[in-house]
Symmetry: C2
Subunit: 368 residues, 2 copies
């Protein structure tokens, strides 16, 4: 916004021409270094570093590291690690701006940002090609973060009630199709749908049984927001992106510790908790630039899981509250910005790089 | 072996000097392109491609995609994907030789090859820096491959017996310490131990509950070897590396289909099935160059899970059988080759790049 208004003010002046030239050539130079094509998606990917680490975690005693019927003669009792979070990362050779953390949503893993279900480049690589260090965690208790096997093996051993088995949630293909707004019902897509619906089975393969959908309160507290706040601190500051189940995790992380966070991006959270935040909480959240993004067709699906129009309304109220309290919050409703047909999985949609560019522009203008 | 014997034969001749010069400068050129330091571990990592895909998988109906006590109003019945295998990959800009698949062992995920528990470069990046395209799967039913939640939710719903809960195996810290031969007991390391034992908690964090340890036969068949054979075909041929639980998966994959496999590397399998393979099976396995690797201190731990000397003896017998049948098999027992102190986790040991170089040399000499 600041760059844009500067150019508008100086329109038709020599200054504007010079500024425009500098901006365009800086951009081209960066695009050339990181990838030769429009959008920077081709050419070598030149990395300074890549790898993984685990963040946090507790070493605890268990008596059921393996169940009563396990065939391998491994010890049942001893110390194991739980509550850790797996993070993989890429740091480009020519780095530009603040790092980005891409947190996935329910029933998914970091894989959802790597490559789209139909085989195109995801935001993980795209943002790295744009010069960003990118960090890609799996939620605590999901995928490469592992999970605590104790409760399951205790039920198998009869020392824990069957009713206390952690719930494992997987979204069926039909539920994803409707909840993610690919179209009115499985197999029928909206005419302008941006999700590559022919790859619905590939999306189904990305499903990881979800233990956090039911763990928003004790006894099973989802520790992912805590780990995300720690991750920001560890890497010296980052813009934190959450999606869907994790859509409000950036804000939950900020409520715990803003020290490692430079900006909060919420992509289609189920709720922005507008009606439940205290003044003290709002006062903490206004410190950070905030972007909330919603796609298209919010009212066009019958969705058993949640109401998208209600989620949008709640987040509009939240953005207004943050701005009234002196904060810097933006609500980006894609169709209102002239971008149509986007699903809940906008980072996998056919125009995912276009939406990614809008996110990067917001970071440029509001964080840096 | 071929290059080395060629040089020996031509010793002190002009030909030898020329050959040696060409070999050294080719190697240096490649090292310079992929990394500037000894071992090629520094400098930019230049990739032509990276990303992920899922391989195989079945879309099946379930009535228990979420349990009876799930709080989210998601549908229980519908189609979900099971049996798929997650694969992440890096293809270097300057590629050299046949691709490598790195299959992890029990209780772990592909993360174990990414970065060592004490934060050094793993084989995934190292082999890519040496010019290899590297493919890094998670076993079927593990980590980013997901797993079938149905049986767990059926038990929760009371429609399946508690005794039929899939077993979830996690190795305790003490069990890993002994089984992986870090030293005689938790906290005490061998004097020449190569595993970075101070990072034992970081290794514990890499644990993913293992459903395959007990699924070598029906009803729960481990489909990972099937997926590995398919992966070899998909990428047009690869050397397949297995470790520990997956140590004999390269051979199991080859027994299903050799078309996509160019070499088999078994790192410390629990068994090489020497006494159980049929003549027909041996006839299939002799078609592919085979390397079996064992580390140090095999007889120096009291290990509840398996006997390392027995595993070595079985694999020595297997290698002899393959060679007697006209095959090309090598048993590399590291201490016999003058490399001491290596644990079961040799790709994470302090000398992991030295062991990696020995693997790459074997591929150079026996596969290419």
């Amino acid at each position: 916004m600041s760059k844009l208004s500067l150019i508008k003010t100086a329109a038709h002046s020599a200054l504007a021409s010079v500024l425009a030239f500098v901006m365009v050539s800086t951009y081209s130079g960066s695009a050339q270094a990181q990838g030769r094509e429009r959008g920077g998606t081709l050419g070598p990917l030149v990395l300074k570093e890549q790898g993984m680490f685990y963040l946090g975690g507790d070493v605890v005693h268990t008596d059921w590291a393996t169940g009563p019927n396990g065939l391998l003669p491994a010890p049942r009792s001893g110390d194991i690690a739980i509550n850790q979070m797996y993070v993989t990362f890429m740091v480009p050779q020519v780095q530009r701006g603040v790092p980005i953390i891409l947190m996935h949503g329910g029933n998914l893993s970091g894989a959802c940002y790597e490559t789209t279900p139909d085989g195109r480049m995801g935001w993980y690589e795209y943002f790295a090609r744009k010069g960003r260090a990118v960090y890609l965690p799996d939620q605590v208790s999901r995928a490469r973060s592992g999970f605590d096997a104790t409760a399951f093996n205790e039920v198998a051993a009869g020392v824990r009630a069957v009713s206390a088995l952690p719930n494992l949630l997987v979204l069926t293909k039909a539920a994803s199709w409707q909840a993610f707004r690919f179209g009115p019902s499985l197999g029928t897509a909206f005419s302008d749908e941006q999700f590559p619906v022919e790859a619905i089975d590939e999306l189904a393969k990305q499903s990881i049984p979800d233990q956090n959908a039911d763990q928003q309160q004790p006894p099973g507290i989802d520790l992912t927001p805590t780990r995300l706040a720690e991750l920001g601190v560890k890497i010296g500051g980052a813009v934190l992106v959450g999606h869907s189940e994790s859509g409000f995790y950036p804000e939950l992380a900020a409520l715990q510790n803003t020290a490692g966070l430079r900006g909060l991006i919420s992509i289609e959270p189920a709720s922005c908790a507008a009606t439940t935040l205290s003044k003290d909480q709002i006062a903490k959240l206004v410190k950070l630039p905030t972007l909330v993004v919603f796609g298209d067709h919010l009212a066009d699906v019958s969705n058993p899981i949640l109401s998208w129009p209600a989620a949008l309304a709640d987040c509009e109220q939240y953005v207004a509250e943050i701005n009234q309290a002196g904060g810097n919050a933006t609500l980006l409703h894609l169709p209102a910005a002239g971008v149509f047909g986007n699903s809940h999985m906008m980072f996998q949609d056919k125009n995912n790089l276009q939406v990614g560019d809008m996110i990067l522009s917001w970071i440029d203008e509001h964080v840096e």
